[in-house]
Point group: C2
Chain length 170, copies 2
Amino acid sequence: LTAPRILRPKPLTATAFARYGDVIEADDAKRRLINEGRTIRYHDLARIDTSGDEGRVCVSIFRSTPPAYPLTLRVMENHPVASQAHIPLSGRPFLVVVAPRGRFDAGALEAFIAGPSQGVNYHKGVWHHYNLALGGVSDFLVIDREGRGDNLEEVTLDPAHPIVLSPEAV
Amino acid sequence: LTAPRILRPKPLTATAFARYGDVIEADDAKRRLINEGRTIRYHDLARIDTSGDEGRVCVSIFRSTPPAYPLTLRVMENHPVASQAHIPLSGRPFLVVVAPRGRFDAGALEAFIAGPSQGVNYHKGVWHHYNLALGGVSDFLVIDREGRGDNLEEVTLDPAHPIVLSPEAV
């Protein structure tokens, strides 16, 4: 058993997250004024990709209870056929743990802390931890895929080399 | 000029809204337990329909300033090619004004008050008012369509027969 590696979240930014997916947030570069001037539309913030293998878009609500932190990571997953977006509905931040698509590399794991007004859209095949609430039971809108075929791959992390997620930011 | 007709919102329920679209909310009939028991997934809550005429799903954020209420309705719209969903992100209720698809009938207008944990998904062709915030500037996640072709029809209401939306519920 090696000493645990401590994974601390970095602030979530579109640039830092670009290799994994989209950050869904009010981005002034994408603003349009509509509805007689009463609404700012921040337009087209995520690349939703659910049509492969005869899939369709599926909208769900996730109600997540935070795990006990620090959390020893046990399993990571990816969706090989579709993107998956999580947008917070409860005004609380949440944690995001990702690794690049392709062969899973535990050494490449990165953690981010998403603010209460930031969603994420994992692109197809990007390794991520399941939804990690912070600070209380939290609801999220999830935009993913429904359809035939297997859209879930999982890896179990090696318990001999523990990786521990701490909610304290870098 | 006739006396204004006052339109008051009814509470939003899936049953009352069924002819117009979906109510996106945590519905116990659709719950599944996932993520090692830490997440309740309320699964597949809206019929998103954006693929007609080579369209694709588009995710945006609307930041809406409430109009002054009572509000004399001036214009209604529908999207003939796609559905459009609005999910509140700011923990505030909002107002919804709709009329059945097909030839616009001002006499058939109905108003609903959506709670802070209720979204709506207008089905293709359903007449609706643009986003109506209540109680303060509010953000909404909007799931609609991007693509070629014209996806907006508007009607202007007859100013000689005013219809006035009051935020006070029935």
